[in-house]
């Protein structure tokens, strides 16, 4: 299994370097099985210009929100950032969070954004494979990776395109 984990932030790279890192991740994407975005590296998982990766990209995209989960949700209140964060949620096959408290917040956000569909709920009625609590280790992620993704890629694509277009405005 080929895995690429991107860990941010990269303040020393500057905005141009950040863009290169994202582009580099995108170039590698077709050859990967799993891509994990951690910290600011999450931006590379769902860079606004890369929704096409949902078709050609790695088989699984994992969003690791752990370094700054509260800020990650608070950021969504700034309209300019909101679409970008929504895009990340929409792109992710699995979302990792630190504790049950953060998991509740993320599940609420996913429902409100229309990113949980009846078909995906039927496959995973506890959403335990979609939003993974890492409080007691990574057993949940291993379990999730051993099953097909919960979310339907076609539906996710429509959400990604819709929210991706918004993020460009």
């Amino acid at each position: 299994m080929k895995v690429l984990a991107l860990r941010g932030p990269w303040p020393s790279l500057g905005p141009q370097g950040q863009g290169w890192a994202e582009a580099f991740a995108a170039q590698l994407a077709p050859w990967l099985d799993v891509q994990v975005g951690t910290g600011e590296g999450c931006q590379a998982v769902a860079a606004p210009l890369l929704p096409v990766r949902a078709f050609f990209g790695p088989k699984r995209l994992i969003l690791d929100t752990r370094p700054w989960p509260t800020r990650w949700l608070e950021e969504t209140l700034r309209p300019k950032e909101r679409a970008r964060y929504h895009l990340q949620l929409a792109m992710a096959d699995h979302i990792i969070c630190e504790s049950a408290v953060e998991r509740d917040g993320i599940i609420g956000a996913l429902f409100a954004l229309g990113l949980v569909w009846p078909s995906s709920y039927l496959r995973d009625p506890c959403l335990g494979r979609l939003v993974i609590c890492a409080q007691n280790g990574m057993k949940g992620l291993v379990e999730a990776l051993s099953h097909p993704p919960t979310t339907d890629r076609r539906r996710r694509m429509s959400a990604v395109l819709r929210k991706g277009l918004l993020s460009l405005i």
Partner: protein
């Protein structure tokens, strides 16, 4: 100036009421007691003021007969389980409290996946999601029933770009002490002897419950003894008949028949037991039982049916997964077993019913817990909000057009789309007829 509060219940307030009606009724009671100068109106499709404990100073408003808008215009604070979309514009001038005492995203998802199929299922879900988002957008304060619900609603609000306070206001216990007026089950029901042990399934049986585990446990116990009887209390939900006589309730009857328990070990109360008669049933019960499956609805739920059991001092046997099951386990108010495990449930029933001392211990602990589960305490966030509430000095048009109307339109559009795909006339086409019939009704009544 005294504050004017309007409480809107989507269901009837009277002898036949389910959780929303019960909640609105006790909310009015708690507010009337805590805010003696407030003018409180309780609006429901039907309001029965003969209900035990109906506060004299609360004005009933049956909106099945009169337009709700009239009552709403005369209020400073509107408290609603679900604010009707036609009242959306109120939030520009009034303070709105939305009482979401379940995690409705999870609850309605559970209903949607079981009741609908194909494209209709997706459209129904989109419609329901937009309706909940509209409720969040219109609120000045969101009430919910437990901390898990609060966190998930906060996440939803942030994702929608809304800043709204969310407070925990759970269900409380009835204020008066439980009193038995007459014998209703033991020795009365054909097949239930006065010496039998009675288990009560208190409330309806909707999609998210798991009566099969309970029935299999009873089947297991019926092989060794015949003194354990179970009564399902309530089938038809008031105002929402489809929710009661749904797939799950029918399957429970079928399973009871298949297992040979129907009419000998398991009994069903068809209809809905009047609110003031419920104590008669509960005070005969040796234990209350409820089982549900392992899913998100369970995780976020606050089982309001447990409150009446605790009020009557009845030990509870339930499945794990929700916050009240955690409380029951931690505080020793009964027993919680893993979901979907009939053998574990049979063992729990046997051990509880055969241990008289254990039952007494549980009843004593319930008495202690009851002190902190009153409606006055539960409704503290709402009481505080109403006490300090100041209606907006200027109309909040920005909020109305920027946050509320987009979700109202989203809901109405998805609803129309769903109705068209289901071959129904969309709401827009039905609206003139509905308005005309409502006007005719009002004119007939001379209001």
């Amino acid at each position: 100036m005294s504050i004017r509060v309007l409480i809107i219940s989507p269901g009837d307030v009277g002898q036949r009421m389910s959780a929303p009606g019960i909640r609105a009724f006790h909310m009015a009671q708690a507010l009337a007691q805590a805010l003696p100068h407030a003018r409180i109106t309780l609006a429901a499709p039907k309001v029965d003021t003969r209900l035990q404990g109906f506060p004299e100073k609360v004005k009933p408003y049956p909106y099945g007969e009169r337009p709700l808008l009239w009552a709403a215009q005369d209020a400073d604070v509107v408290v609603a389980n679900f604010l009707p979309v036609r009242l959306a514009s109120l939030c520009a001038h009034k303070l709105v409290v939305v009482d979401l005492f379940a995690q409705y995203f999870a609850e309605w998802m559970e209903v949607t996946v079981h009741q609908e199929q194909g494209l209709t299922r997706d459209l129904v879900w989109l419609e329901r999601r937009a309706y909940i988002a509209f409720q969040l957008a219109v609120a000045d304060l969101v009430l919910c029933a437990n901390e898990r619900q609060r966190l998930s609603y906060l996440g939803a609000l942030r994702a929608l770009g809304l800043r709204r306070p969310v407070a925990v206001a759970p269900h409380g216990l009835r204020p008066q002490a439980p009193q038995k007026r007459r014998q209703v089950v033991k020795g009365v029901y054909p097949g239930i002897r006065p010496t039998d042990k009675l288990l009560i399934w208190n409330g309806g049986t909707t999609d998210w419950y798991d009566p099969d585990t309970f029935l299999l446990a009873l089947h297991h116990l019926a092989q060794e003894r015949d003194d354990i009887k179970a009564l399902f209390l309530g089938a038809t939900y008031p105002n929402v008949p489809a929710l009661g006589w749904g797939r799950r309730f029918r399957s429970a009857i079928d399973t009871a028949k298949e297992l040979g328990l129907y009419g000998s070990t398991v009994f069903f109360e068809f209809g809905w037991v009047p609110y003031d008669d419920v104590p008669d049933y509960l005070l005969e019960a040796d234990a209350g039982v409820c089982a549900y499956s392992d899913h998100l609805e369970t995780y976020y739920s606050f089982r309001t049916r447990f409150m009446d059991l605790l009020w009557a001092g009845v030990p509870i046997i339930c499945t794990k997964g929700d916050t009240l099951a955690e409380m029951i386990e931690q505080e020793g108010l009964g027993l919680a077993v893993p979901p979907g495990d009939p053998i574990a449930m049979a063992h729990a029933i046997r051990s509880l019913l055969d241990d008289q001392e254990g039952q007494e211990r549980i009843r004593k602990r319930i008495q202690q817990v009851r002190q902190r589960l009153t409606w006055e305490q539960a409704m503290t966030p709402l009481i505080d909000f109403c006490r300090t509430a100041r209606p907006p000095a200027r109309p909040r048009h920005g909020r109305l057009w920027g946050e509320v109307f987009p979700w109202a339109l989203n809901y109405l559009a998805t609803r129309a789309l769903r109705e068209v795909t289901q071959g129904e006339a969309p709401w827009l086409a039905r609206a003139p007829q509905r308005v005309a019939s409502r006007l005719a009704r009002i004119l007939r009544k001379g209001l």
